[in-house]
Amino acid sequence: MSRLVGSSVHRVEDERILTGRGQYVADVRVPGMLHAAFVRSPVPHARITSIDTSAARGVPGVVAVCTDDDLEVADMRLWGPPELLRPAFRPLTADKVRFVGDPIAIVVAESRAIAEDAAELVDVDYELLDAVANIDQALDASRSALFDEAGTNVLLQTSHVHGDPYAAFASAHDIVSLRFVQQRQGNVPMEGRGGVADYSPATGELVYHAAHQNPHQLRVSLAALLGHPAHQLTVRCGDIGGSFGQKAYPSREDVAVCAAAITIGRPVAWIEDRSENLLAAGQAREETIEVDAAVSADGDLLGLRVHMTLDQGAYQLTTLPSSIFPTIVRVLLPGPYRIEHLAFDTTVVATNKATYVAYRGPWEAETFVRERLLDVVATRLGLEPAEVRARNLLRADELPRRGVTGVTMEHLTARETFEQALDLVDLPAFRAAQAAARLDGRYLGLGMATFAEPAPGPPDYSRALGVGASPRSAQRAVARLEPDGTITVFTSQSPHGQGHQTTLAQLAADGLDVPIDQVRVVHGDTRLTPFNLVGTGGSRAATLASGAVVGVTAALRDRIVAVAADALEANLYDLEVADARVSVRGTPSAGITFAEVAARLAPDLDVAYDFAIPDGGWSQATHCCWVEIDVETGIVRIPRYLVVEDCGALINPAIVEGQIRGGVTQGIAGVLYEWAAYGDDAQPLATSFLDYLLPTAAEVPRIDIVHVESPPQGPIDFRGVGEGGAIGAPAALTNAIEDALAPFGVTITDQYLPPWKIVALVHGTSVMTRPA
């Protein structure tokens, strides 16, 4: 039988998705189901002086209107480090509203339309407070604190020193100082959040149908927050319409919907609409990063001093503290480079905005800042950026090494991706074309960016982040030989577009020598799937879920063959497996089918296997972006985009490439189109697709991908690619834009570069507009 792994086999998911048979959370129908709508704050910061729900309760078809007083729920805080101020907050806010979209009440009715009608009739009186709209306002101590108990909007201030940055700066030839700014961006999955809480007063069972990346984490969190016994709480996820980090935590709405269902004693559905999603589902990336770089005359990065300030929005996540994002940036900032001295200060502030959430490559700033910095250093020194990159990238003879931030860099091929990219780019030819084009008043640019992505990262990665003392966290898979001889694989992954029903089935089918249609991959149901607090996220599945499935199918195969050997009275080593049947080699008639084996094995049909994080675990890539800029209109065109990457062996190349292209598209969009804007009064300005601009097929360029082949790192040589595209693209694109605008003497430090800003950059200098 031909191997499935390594081949772009059809996705198992596609037959149902392409024929409209998918089952998303909005498609869940439960008898007696009611529909919820939230009353949300229209003002960014105010004390609530009264809430009058009587008119809403009187609307025919309304079953309940619940405020904080009506729901038995706990404070939403579950976990966080001691250095982070973590003010208490409720699923439905009671005392104050802290952003436009803050949920105040939940209206439950016979239809969504009735619930929305009634929500408009809930009368809330506010005593307005001055709003905190951005980092500068948050650092201004004269502004009102969002949380009285904190008394300040600065929730975290830490300093870390790695190596000896003071000595590095003392010996520097030059110090390059830059202040990078990333704008707030949304994850914007095409499907919003949602859930259907199916509560049975008769049994006390709560089944929460959700669209969620982490079903087990959601289950244990809901049990804690609702005070509901975990053994009577199930989370069930079907098809999920994307997430990109947004559906990865127990949300305040999840808790309110479940609490309302328990209070009312009937099932309650909440399906977020787009306006709610853009207002309240969470945003990311808004960070200011001040960097001083100590450099040698030859362009060596001797040391960095960094101060990162992150705007966490109003409320923290229940299961992911806002301090984690700058922590990951700090740990990964040296990346695949020889950066041995780093001082890193962190500030996290609260503002009157939606919550900062993880967004595809939540540490993307480390690549943006470092790769932009390398280009600026090159320009200052009159060097080619590629030359500076080559000087600073670690060489094979320097590996393995424990990086200065405590994470082991091993099996690094970032340099190989860079060198291959350089070959494909043909820099001298590009520079000649660029010079010729400038004479015609055309502005071409080329940008590169190189990085290593923890996918999943080495065993000491979580320790370096300070989030786990245990160096190895296992991922379990369970495989079942069904009575008819087919195979069911249970995974703790919760795919939402990644195609795990296909890739894990490819691995299992190869492992057991059965056709792929005899393997079913089950995910998303906490009653069935192995426990893991992390489902799908952090580019972990390619290594961890795959390793677990390879291990469990090998174990199941051993068990099947052992039973067959006994039944056939044959030596184990004389047996061969093909098409769900075990037979004696050379005597095909002497055989036993998987179904017959199952009859002998029952009830011991399940096998479990735990996979540990292996060494290495880095995916790595070099992105190359070509641009042509119309300096009159500020429009940036991308005629070519190339990713040279190494994610190890490919299970399904088309799925890998789809992940990369999707990520690159989001990265490009983060530079050219997307801004979850708020005014200086903290009013949100991008609450529909008319204001929050997603790129379409007409804007996104073709993206070419080259896979670097490197020696296998171990028996499981698959690594994640979920986030790298989004990590590399903003740096590569902004480097290309600065390169194109070099005649204008422009230094780019803002990630957001829509046409108006390009035009401003072009006109913001006294440099001539066209070379002589």
Partner: protein, 156 residues
């Protein structure tokens, strides 16, 4: 309340709904046609696109009452597992989609495109699909699938 009778994917259907009910809500909540996905309810994302008497329409922007007596085609109506439309087959071959939420609108938009322009260029496909948003793919795999479908359908 008003009564609406229409044809959905070749089957007669009827429902009594509030006058303000959109076609999308009629299809999803009263007729069970859940292949119609709501991504923005503002006509911007295109996920809810259906064919009404053969013409592309955003079902979130039409009232159910406007569709009385008309024939609606949804994604579920153009092919089924085991008997997919050549366009669906081509999109499967190209790994066109990932999460699948935007898929209904893209497939129906592409179907109308290939009917009106059986041999489109890549630029024409990209322009025609630019009223539909996908957050997963970067569009390349969708565009390729439509171009492959055009070739195959021309050869048939």
């Amino acid at each position: 309340m008003i009564s609406v009778a229409l044809t959905v994917d070749g089957h007669a259907a009827s429902a009594t709904v509030e006058p303000r009910t959109t076609l999308a809500d009629l299809l999803r909540d009263h007729i069970g046609a859940t292949s119609v996905h709501l991504g923005c309810e503002q006509g911007a994302c295109g996920a809810c696109t259906v064919l009404v008497d053969g013409e592309l329409a955003r079902s979130c922007l039409l009232l159910a009452a406007q569709c009385d007596g008309r024939a609606v085609t949804t994604l579920a109506g153009i092919g089924a597992p085991g008997s997919m439309h050549p366009l669906q087959e081509a999109l499967r071959d190209s790994h066109g989609f990932q999460c699948g939420f935007c898929t209904p609108g893209f497939v129906l938009t592409a179907l109308a495109l290939l009917r009106d322009n059986p041999a489109p260029t890549e630029a024409e496909v990209r322009a025609e699909l630019s009223g539909n948003l996908c957050r997963c793919t970067g569009y390349q795999s969708i565009v390729e699938g439509v171009l492959v479908a055009a070739e195959r359908m021309a050869a048939e």
